[in-house]
Symmetry: C2
Subunit: 366 residues, 2 copies
Amino acid sequence: MDERIREHAALLVDWSARIEAGDDVVVSVSEGSHDLAVAVAAELGERGANLLAVSDSDEIERAYLRAHDGAFAESPAHELALYERADAVLRLGRGRNTAAKADVDPAQRQAYRTSRRAIREARMDTDWVSTVHPTRSLAQQAGMSYEAYQEFVYDAVLRDWESLAEEMAQLKTLLDEGSEVRIETGGEELTLSIENRTAVNSAASVAYDSHNLPSGEVFTAPYAAEGSITFDVPMTIDGRRVRDARLVFEDGEVVDFSAATGEAALRGVLETDPGARRLGELGIGMNRGIDRPTDNILFDEKMGDTIHLAVGRAYDACLPAGVTGNESAVHTDMITDVSSDSRLLVDGDVVQRNGTFRWEDGFAET
Amino acid sequence: MDERIREHAALLVDWSARIEAGDDVVVSVSEGSHDLAVAVAAELGERGANLLAVSDSDEIERAYLRAHDGAFAESPAHELALYERADAVLRLGRGRNTAAKADVDPAQRQAYRTSRRAIREARMDTDWVSTVHPTRSLAQQAGMSYEAYQEFVYDAVLRDWESLAEEMAQLKTLLDEGSEVRIETGGEELTLSIENRTAVNSAASVAYDSHNLPSGEVFTAPYAAEGSITFDVPMTIDGRRVRDARLVFEDGEVVDFSAATGEAALRGVLETDPGARRLGELGIGMNRGIDRPTDNILFDEKMGDTIHLAVGRAYDACLPAGVTGNESAVHTDMITDVSSDSRLLVDGDVVQRNGTFRWEDGFAET
């Protein structure tokens, strides 16, 4: 077995999920992640944790959803009981075809998802972590050879998370203490309020309330956006490619938008509900192992030298008790490259310039 | 998709497991059975049943068992809760390598199995059915090409089970009403008591207390064996090939034995415990879709024109209330070809001669 798979499994079990002897663990195995599942099983066995493997297959789900009449039972009792009693859930993505469910009616998918709310909540109450095993299908989506894609994934995953967590803690402190963020990039300016918001140090561990491996971002829930920004990292929205999306904000709301490609998809998102025109997230990518976009938001948004914003739903973790954040059925991330011609300011102080943070060598305010 | 896979799935869900709308179903998917799982998912969706797929991978289990110190938790709560609340469990075998666990310490396997008794019992309390998807690994074990093996499996599985169940009911009646069975084959004779025993019409459906697809045998729990018999269908015991095993019984117990090949493996079974020298099962194979041995006991023992006996544990279903059957840690089936030079008699009446039952064309007593 590739030694990197073993390292990935050990990191997932130790650093990310903090598995201990006697933990009841569910490992969700996708069609493409069997090799990683074998390595994870060895790590769990070594720690004396208890393993149940469930199967996560897009093709099985597609067949089920297409055949079902749509009147789904509310969170079936057997599956709900499993997750209610689990201590941790490790989800190992992904499959053999990222388009495997392309011909499932979106309304049917949504109905299924809605019916499983209690199961989802039970799963989110565990020490859950999602990770990705490099598959040929993801390599294809990234436009990369399999070998190069494997290297890319392990560069992103096999990091010194402890030291990255310490670095990210500096940014979290600045954001927690600050009131206003200004993003200057490509000649545009966007101002956001972050007063009374708490940033999350997303260090790929449940100990940091961070549930993805890889991670490597600091994010918070901004509001009262004013100004404009262009997202020059390409993305896929509802299966359509979107390039150079531009949003103009007044009083926290999108008042104008455009895109060089895929404007209709962008419009579709923004018109979902009123919350879809307001921001739910500001995130600063700090994983320098991710050196290029690969059309996979879990990686793209963590990329070093990028900042992302999401329209739609805000995460509770960023909000003070009793405050309701932006609500929406969507949460759509859009990314901008800040490696040049860019500054990030908190309360007027430059925190990052052209991708370099103020605590790094080579930093200069202007 | 191969139409036979769809037919297999429909038969499994309808005839075998009797799935209804709202049933909470666990589908256990092995590494080699994904295509069948997709077809089963469609059948479950169509019926409005609720699906959770679990992963059954020999390689995952091997890695876990080899890494674990052997102090296994008793039936972990999350997995136990799943099976306690399931209505049905459909197990779809098999993997990509029948030797995948060859290097797991048998004591470790046994300890794991023992620790999971409550889970196993909860699963057996559901409407569970085990079936087999034809894989290249099983074709290899059978010494057959993949295409020929697929045909073999579907011939065995896609039968008119209703009509076979009716035919098998005739044999069940004869055995239930009879007191003594005599097997004459290859010049030897074996006499067994079946007084006060109930035969099972194993028609591949939970409605018949039959949990394997394919099935196609009538079996009971004999005792007081006298005489001898040679099992001329090759078999594998503990990974070793055994040919022409011969057992000599006196007063219900094996008093002498031999084998042309693999005698040590046979001895190993017989010396397990006192119950391993007595019979636990007499079965009469009636599935004429199975026309050859394939080194897979689930098929071999159902083969038409064969009779099998098992040393070791008897099934409760064959015993009257309050009677304890033969007890043993083993249950090892051995098969003899009765297509020529053979007769099966119940209370002195010939029931089958050279493979032909008395209700079939061409039957002659001598």
